[in-house]
């Protein structure tokens, strides 16, 4: 579970972000497309954080590949979309993702029953702790982006 949720998902997302970075200047899409893409990205993250999806990705290779592709595409679209979208949408998106990660982390940490069949309770709690830390790091990043954005205005 820690390997899956804390390494596979962020690595594929990260690879996508790195790949999409260089195209960010040629990717100026409108606000409505931007919102649509951010909805797709946040839904993808929600989908792959569901215990049911994690379990299925562990036992089904095809499903696992779909996860990798989905995360890569989400990452690829993330940076260019955030770069050209409205400041308010950017803050809302980052805030929502960090809140979601912290909430998932708390759930995994405090639940004493197994949520994913492919892992152990200890792994579940470890994932929960790490997700809270990652969520807090993202939250601090959001605050930095927020205040820097306010300073520029």
């Amino acid at each position: 579970m820690p390997r899956h949720q804390l390494l596979q998902l962020p690595i594929m997302l990260g690879l996508g972000i790195v790949s999409g970075w260089r195209y960010s200047n040629h990717f100026n899409i409108g606000v409505s497309w931007g919102i649509a893409i951010l909805v797709f990205i946040i839904s993808s993250i929600i989908f792959w954080m569901l215990p049911h999806s994690i379990d299925y990705a562990v036992i089904n290779t095809t499903f696992n590949r779909v996860m990798h592709i989905n995360m890569f595409v989400a990452g690829f679209l993330l940076f260019p979309t955030l770069k050209h979208t409205l400041f308010e949408i950017k803050i809302l998106f980052l805030g929502m993702v960090s809140a979601m990660m912290i909430a998932t982390g708390i759930t995994l940490l405090t639940y004493n029953l197994l949520l994913c069949s492919a892992f152990t309770i200890d792994q579940q709690k470890e994932t929960g702790t790490q997700l809270i830390i990652l969520g807090l790091v993202l939250f601090v990043t959001t605050l930095i982006v927020f205040f820097r954005g306010l300073g520029r205005r």
Binding site: V31, F40, C116, S117, A118
Partner: protein, 229 residues
Amino acid sequence: MQTPDSCSWQDVVESAKKLRMKKVLIPVLSLTVCFTIIWKWTLGFSAFTIFSYTLKSAGEIPRTFPDLQMINQDGKVFSMKEKQKYVLVNFVYLNCPYVCHKVNNQLEHIYHLFDRNTVPSKLEFVTLSFDLKNDDIKKIQLYRNYFGSDISGWSFALPYQSSQQAFNQFLGKLGVWKYSVPSTGIINHSVYLFLISPDGKIVKTFDPARDNDYIIAEQINACLREKAI
């Protein structure tokens, strides 16, 4: 008759409306598609784990308990249909490092919440093993002894002459998820308790990790009272 000017003005208004519609429609469409996928995947936001998904996918209760021959700790072969009384069924495997024993301790508590007039005459308990490779009658007999000598009406059993494939099919029909972790050999599985009525139907499912022992006992009693009426 429209002048060329008024016509172009109308065109501008129309195209502005279309543009605004398009701007709203794209995010709404994206949200609808994503929402629908997650809705379907979680069976209407009601099954977020593979355990609850498997249980829900098996169908609504009441439904028939799938047929399976079992053998108990004394070597007696039986099936649920022959019981003709309420039976509370749960699943374990003896090499389980944690959850199974916790659930069985909880079940022991629930068992002792019923008096001798109820168990075994109106209600029985059956604990069925998952592990066709490692568990045998001797082992389940020894395991049963841990719960004391005076537990009449609580059988520990194994599937009788059932292949792994047939047993997996039975579990699928019942709504029980089972997955063997290849690296450790640990079997992760649903811990639901199934209440079977005398006519062989699953009438209630309980999640011992969430449901309180007293509430489970009360709901079983309610079913027993219903039957008596």
